[in-house]
Structures are given as structure tokens and as C-alpha cells.
């Protein structure tokens, strides 16, 4: 071992090296939306506890959710929820061994985004008409 030449070891590149693809973007989105839902569910817990606490606490929380910021949060939460749900269905399809081909993967990833936006709009339009 006179001159141990160390070959450059292969390193796993960081995220920013890769060209963004639909499947990668939707994979990252699935995780991000999961984390957002994890944090956001606290709002539902606060709303429920306020309801259980009495009229004054409830009115304060209900006022917040009825404000422009509240509506923005609820709208965003709806989209994040629908995105994570469709992304989850995609994962369940994969768990059964389907949808692994390149074209299917990309189509399913596109459908996750388009479907989640469409579902969110439908929910809000229906909610405004029905309630």
C-alpha cells in the first residue's frame, strides 16, 4: 500500500441537482401536504373544544374562521386535504402493483394535481350553494 489512491466515492446528489419531474413534484407535495394537514388539524381541535366550552369561546373561533384569513386557511386546507387524499389513492394503486409504467406514473401524478384543484373548487361551489 504505497500510494493508496482513493477513488472519488459516489455521492448521492442533493435534491436541487435533479430536474423536476411530475412524479417527483407530486411525491414532495404528498409529504408537504401531509405535514400541513398534521399541523392544520389543530384548528379543527380548537374549533371543537371552543364549541364544547360555550357560546363566547365558540363565537370568537367562528368569527376567525368567517374572516378573510379564516376563509383563506379553510380553502387552502381543502385543497391540501384533497391533494393528499388523491396522492394517497395513487399510493394505494401502487401498493396493489398497478400504475408503475412511465406514462401511467406521469398521468397519475398530473391527475393528482388537476383532480385536487377540481375537487376543491367543486366542494366550495357546492358548499356555497347548499349551505
Amino acid at each position: 500500500m504505497a500510494e493508496a489512491k482513493v477513488a472519488p466515492r459516489p455521492l448521492s446528489p442533493h435534491l436541487q441537482i435533479y430536474r423536476w419531474s411530475w412524479t417527483m413534484a407530486m411525491s414532495v407535495f404528498h409529504r408537504a401536504t401531509g405535514i400541513a394537514l398534521y399541523v392544520g388539524i389543530a384548528l379543527f381541535a380548537i374549533w371543537l373544544v371552543a364549541l364544547a366550552s360555550g357560546p363566547s369561546a365558540f363565537d370568537a373561533v367562528q368569527w376567525f374562521f368567517g374572516s378573510p384569513i379564516g376563509y383563506l386557511i379553510l380553502f387552502g386546507y381543502t385543497w391540501v386535504l384533497m391533494h393528499h387524499m388523491l396522492g394517497g389513492v395513487r399510493h394505494l394503486v401502487w401498493d396493489f402493483g398497478y400504475g408503475m409504467e412511465a406514462a401511467q406514473r406521469i398521468n397519475m401524478a398530473r391527475f393528482t394535481l388537476i383532480g385536487s384543484i377540481a375537487l376543491t373548487l367543486v366542494i366550495w361551489v357546492v358548499a356555497f350553494i347548499a349551505f
Partner: protein, 138 residues
């Protein structure tokens, strides 16, 4: 290659360990499996949840009490809270295990994750039960 997994002269793994199928972590596939089961349960529960929340938007205190205390609504919400709390606990544990590399921080984060999930679940369940129990819609 011959299957020698049950032969203790060749493999260190005992037949019992192989039957239990728990692997090195001692947990088997519980985490993965319950994550899938709750994912499937979440689909109908979340659809119902969205409809319930839409009905609650802008409602008065009395209306909100009436909706939440309806047995069907309360039961669906309780099921949703149990399924979602478990699903989010398992999901965030995966995220923690992927990105937090320091062992001490990782254990602390996983414990905090469990606490958060339990607090959310208990807060929601207590509130639903307090609002609904003993209340009969007239």
C-alpha cells in the same frame, strides 16, 4: 439457492423468529400496514368530514351544537378522529425518521409526535362527546 432459513445449523434465525416475521426492529410490518388501513378508512371518513364542516361553516352556536350532537355526525367524527390521528402519527414518524439523523433528537421528536397525536385525538373526542352525550334533538 436452497431455502435454509429454518435450519439453525446454517442460519442464526430461529424458526420461531421466522414465523413471527418481526425482523430486526421487532415490529414487523405493523407501522406500514396500519398506515394503509387508516388510509383506506380515511377516504370515506374525510368525504363525510368535508360535508359536515361545510354544513357547520358560519353556523350559530345552537346550530353547531345541533349538528355535532346528531348521533350519525358524532359517530362519523369520532371514527374520523381515531383514524386520522393514527394515520398522521404514523406518517409524521416516517418523516422524522427520514430527516432527523441525530439519535437523541430523533427519539425526542418521535415522542413529541406521539404526544401531539394523542392530545389532538383526546381534545377532539372529549369535545364531541361533551357536546353530544345526553342531548336529544327535539
Amino acid at each position: 439457492m436452497a431455502d435454509n432459513r429454518a435450519d439453525t445449523r446454517i442460519s442464526m434465525r430461529t424458526p420461531l423468529a421466522r414465523v413471527k416475521g418481526l425482523g430486526a426492529s421487532g415490529h414487523g410490518v405493523e407501522h406500514w400496514w396500519i398506515h394503509r388501513v387508516t388510509a383506506v378508512a380515511n377516504i370515506p371518513l374525510i368525504i363525510a368530514f368535508v360535508i359536515i364542516v361545510a354544513a357547520l361553516a358560519g353556523s350559530s352556536y345552537e346550530d353547531a351544537i345541533a349538528i355535532i350532537s346528531h348521533p350519525l355526525v358524532a359517530i362519523i367524527l369520532i371514527l374520523a378522529v381515531i383514524s386520522v390521528a393514527n394515520h398522521m402519527r404514523l406518517g409524521l414518524q416516517i418523516v422524522i425518521e427520514d430527516y432527523v439523523h441525530d439519535k437523541g433528537t430523533k427519539i425526542a421528536a418521535v415522542i413529541a409526535n406521539n404526544f401531539y397525536a394523542v392530545i389532538i385525538a383526546v381534545a377532539c373526542l372529549y369535545a364531541i362527546l361533551k357536546v353530544s352525550l345526553g342531548r336529544i334533538l327535539v
